[in-house]
């Protein structure tokens, strides 16, 4: 590059020294913001996990007293027993924390932020201040959701789905007072955070790609982040509105979701309490909520799919099989994702004719996901697999996603859904796609990009120990749910032993709980590895994985501005095993050998 270019860069890039607060706390640097999201996400992961352990403890041993905790939380007149509304709170907050404070922030906030500018060759995001705001808008949510555990009545307990009238009407449950209000406020804040982030990502990806980085030379990670951001931007406003409507119902006495119990008969009544006459519809909430929350589940998997694609290509040393079909599949999943929300409402009392329509769209959404799985298999076929920790987690993603995706077909089928709706079949399915897929994807991404984020490597052996045990125990917890689900064991039950038809599967519940406790403890291995490696991990160098994408050409960790010289892109990201190179990889920024013709792409 000419000296004039250097001078140009020097003047536009301000070199003033930033104080500690501006550099690491209120930072506008996408990498720091990404790492902030990652740290809060990991902390919340442990909170969400503890809540899940509470659920499993009760379910595994429904009549026992919890050692130590029982005496401490429910002393005296409560008789050391978990009250049923506490159990409802546990699973409601477990889901809320995991979805809104862990998976979405980790996938979109942490990895979206960190990878996007680096992988497209930009200096930072398009709107750095908006980016900072996007992170700090998570904090009101942390504050309100954590505070909600301590208010009178406890944290929200109407499920993460918060259906009216249970959530809406204050006296319908102890937790539907301040607990529910704080939940609503927290989620509105998270919505703002995500909407700000999504606008940033879309703009950055469209406008700030390095020279030569055409759309179809972007890595799958970026495609995934891009499409996810579009999902967020389109779907979140609907959720935010729904949350505001429910909040209005609970504060100023509107009745968006509050019905009359019979025509001309006044509102709903529970004991002595009665709501004033309504005229609203509980079903309206469900439509608004699921209009967002169905795309939300794709928000929670698409980034992982993208990252896993990159990780598999890197460690299989082979191009992604069917790059364009993979991109189109992502778009197909996202697009179809907008017209299937009613599959959460098949039995809801919505007109069943709508159910037929939603059913067909839902079954078709299995198609792009299947195409992706076949393409991942195609990538592995004929490859050279290096079993590093990130690769193992990515392979787990693929194999577990197959299970999660296939089990989804059962519930897409409306008549079968009549039997399995609100049973453990659903819980098993959702944990396979969220825990076994998204979380394995997140682990893969953390192990993979840790060296670039912090300049050090995480310990690979302990990473593998963590992987093996997580893989075994998570299957132990969630696979039997397909069996209890086939038995039609309803979900969200504090005490399933009330029912004779569930007697024989109670043993499975206990087995799953034991596996869950082990699974929880195993995550400590990850935590120690992560924390230790931050300070004492061996140095990773520039490109420890010998990967092709742009971020590996920046220093580890990259400085403010990312690239010392702006990168120029000459090819796609998956030129592994290319005959053009003597190594088994060929970075995107490496200039082509003079005189060499570009390798013809075998299709």
């Amino acid at each position: 590059m000419s000296s004039a270019d250097h001078a140009h860069i020097a003047t536009t890039h301000e070199h003033h020294e930033l104080g500690f607060l501006r550099k690491y706390i209120f930072s506008e640097d996408h990498k720091i913001i990404g790492i902030q999201f990652m740290f809060s996400g990991i902390i919340m992961f442990f909170l969400g996990g503890l809540l899940a352990l509470g659920v499993r403890t009760q379910l595994g041993w429904p009549h026992a007293e919890i050692p130590l905790l029982g005496q401490w939380l429910w002393p005296g007149n409560a008789g050391h027993r978990m009250p049923p509304e506490f159990y409802n709170m546990l699973f409601s907050m477990h889901a809320s924390v995991m979805i809104f404070l862990v998976i979405i922030p980790l996938l979109t906030g942490a990895f979206g932020n960190f990878t996007i500018p680096l992988m497209i060759g930009a200096k930072d995001m398009a709107f750095p201040k908006l980016n900072m705001m996007s992170y700090w808008f998570m904090w009101p949510a942390f504050a309100t959701l954590l505070a909600s555990f301590f208010v009178d009545g406890g944290a929200a307990a109407a499920g993460w789905t918060s259906y009216p009238t249970l959530a809406d009407v204050e006296f319908a449950a102890p937790n539907s007072g301040w607990g529910q209000r704080l939940w609503l406020i927290g989620l509105i804040s998270i919505g703002v955070s995500s909407m700000a982030g999504s606008v940033n990502y879309i703009t950055t990806i469209i406008n700030m790609r390095a020279p030569g980085m055409t759309l179809f030379r972007m890595p799958m990670t970026i495609w995934a982040m891009f499409i996810t951001a579009i999902l967020q931007a389109m779907a979140l406003p609907v959720l935010t509105v729904a949350l505001i409507l429910q909040l209005l119902d609970k504060t100023i006495g509107t009745c968006f979701f509050l019905p009359n119990w019979a025509p001309g008969q006044g509102g709903v009544s529970i004991g002595n309490y009665q709501t004033p006459p309504g005229g609203g519809q509980p079903l309206l909430w469900q439509h608004l909520f699921w209009f967002y929350s169905h795309p939300a589940v794709y928000i929670m998997i698409l980034p992982a799919m993208g990252m896993v694609s990159d990780i598999i290509a890197t460690f299989a040393r082979k191009p992604i099989f069917g790059y364009r079909p993979m991109v189109y599949s992502l778009a197909g999943i996202a697009g179809l994702g907008f017209i299937v929300w009613g599959h959460h409402m098949f039995q809801s009392g919505m007109d069943p004719r709508l159910g037929t329509g939603f059913m067909i769209a839902t079954i078709m959404i299995a198609l792009p996901s299947a195409v992706k799985v076949f393409n991942w298999l195609g990538t592995l076929w004929g490859s050279n697999i290096h079993y590093t920790t990130p690769m193992l987690n990515a392979l787990a993603f693929v194999s577990m996603f197959v299970i999660g995706g296939l089990s989804g077909i059962f519930m897409a089928a409306t008549p079968v859904d009549i039997a399995i709706h609100d049973t453990y079949f659903i819980v098993g399915h959702l944990h396979y796609v969220l825990f076994m897929s998204s979380i394995f994807g997140i682990f893969a991404a953390i192990y993979y990009w840790f060296p670039k984020m912090f300049g050090r490597m995480m310990n690979d052996t302990w990473g593998k120990v963590h992987f093996v045990l997580t893989f075994l125990f998570s299957n132990g917890v969630f696979f039997p749910m397909h069996i209890t689900g086939s038995r039609l064991h309803p979900r969200r039950y504090f005490d399933p032993t009330q029912y004779r038809f569930l007697d024989e599967v109670q043993g499975l519940n206990t087995f799953m709980s034991i596996c869950a406790i082990c699974l929880g403890l195993v995550q400590l291995i990850f935590l120690v590895n992560f924390a230790y490696s931050l300070f004492r991990g061996p140095k990773g160098g520039l490109n420890p994985w010998h990967s092709n994408t742009l971020e590996w050409t920046a220093p580890s960790p990259p400085p403010h501005g990312n690239f010392e010289t702006p990168p120029v892109v000459y090819r796609g990201p998956y030129e592994y095993g290319s005959p053009e190179s003597d190594k088994d990889y060929l970075p995107q920024t490496e200039p082509p050998r003079p005189g060499a013709a570009p390798a013809t792409h075998a299709h």
Partner: protein, 473 residues
Amino acid sequence: MMAGLTKKTAVRAGAAFPLVLLGLLTLPGCGDSYPKDLNYPPRTDPIVIELPKVQPTYLDAPGQLAHWIDSIPEKGGRLIDPTAGVEKVQLAKVEEHLSKSRFDLSDEEVHELGLASKPEKDSAQEALEARRDSLKKRIETITATMKGVAPKLSAVLKDRFGTPAAPKVGVDDADAFGLDTTTLAEGSKLYRRHCLHCHGLTGDGRGPTGPWVNPHPRDYRQGQFKFTSTTMSAGGFTSGSRKARREDLLRTLKQGIEGTSMPSFALLDEQNELRPLISYVIHLSMRGQVELSVLNDILGREGDPDADVEELADKKLKAIWNAGWKPSFSAAHAIEVGTVPSYTGKTLGQLSPDEKVQLDESIKRGFQQFTTGTASCRSCHNDFGRANDYRYDEWGTISRPANLTAGLYRGGRRPLDLYYRIHSGINGAGMTAFSGALRPEDIWDIVNFLEAMPYKNMLPPDVKAQVYGKGKD
């Protein structure tokens, strides 16, 4: 640390620890009874001894039960608080008035501060100082008394009534009435599983869920039961008096209480589950009432702080048993319903045309009784129950005369249940017993009217017009 790890060690360590864990999980604590070392906690919530004169105009908000009871003195009622909490709060308020020299007291403040009457402006300071001194003295007395009494009371209650895991009833003939230790232990397990989180460990209705549902779960410790079928006189919590019979408690368990949070437990086995539960509830009620009466005697206005706790407890227990529970078990005190008219208790389809006419007449008579007759039900059940005021019940919580046009009866919807309610009233909730004032045939007339009232077309036209009126249809 990390460097010295070999793959083999890592894998072995990784495999070993879940096995260790499995071992840990076989530790005790997985049973379904209360822990053996758990004792019934002593009573710390106040006893309501006098209700406010002014009736409430609103329900207590969800979760505010304790606060509601604590604020009864402010509204003109009286409490006995074994922890002197109420007095301490009042003392703080009095001292605030004194330190800020706020001597111009409103009526509300007079109640709040527990003054007997509104003092003249110039004697207000003196009155407040006197009140402060008397409160301080009272707090001292309560604290000192309870210091001596509390351990003795706990000991005697534990001796006579056992622990949650091993309950018993310390009367000689307990076994004969299903209050043997085996039945009670079984009942305790079932109670813990099905009832604890609402009705609380001691049966005080203040389990974790209790304050959040309205009406609140029954506080058994007062020894008063609403839906009874005995002829015994009602009595308050200090006397033995009318209790629920086993049949009444069974009905409640089986049918639940519609319009409240008490669900139906009909699907539990009657012999092996409901029966022990009933025994356990009776045990909790007896224990609670003994504790309550002893505290009331010792800490009450005419109380004797130096009374022998054990002797007093035994005396109370004897009274509650011999004058309350034991007679309730006997069929001798069951309500008799007199001659039941032939047109009562039949479906419309079963009535002959003559009987239909007779039924109409009976309904008209019942309507008469309801509105202008001796019963004068309308004086409480305004507009046939559609426009009722809230009132305090003897637990200090809120009740309301039933809306009789709704067809929703908490004590049961059978004609027999309605007969019982009118005959013996609803103990603790202000529904008077009419057995003295009305003859059985009068009661049956009212019952027929009540049974017809929710069904507009069953009422004779003139009655219908008066109940549902023009524009009320």
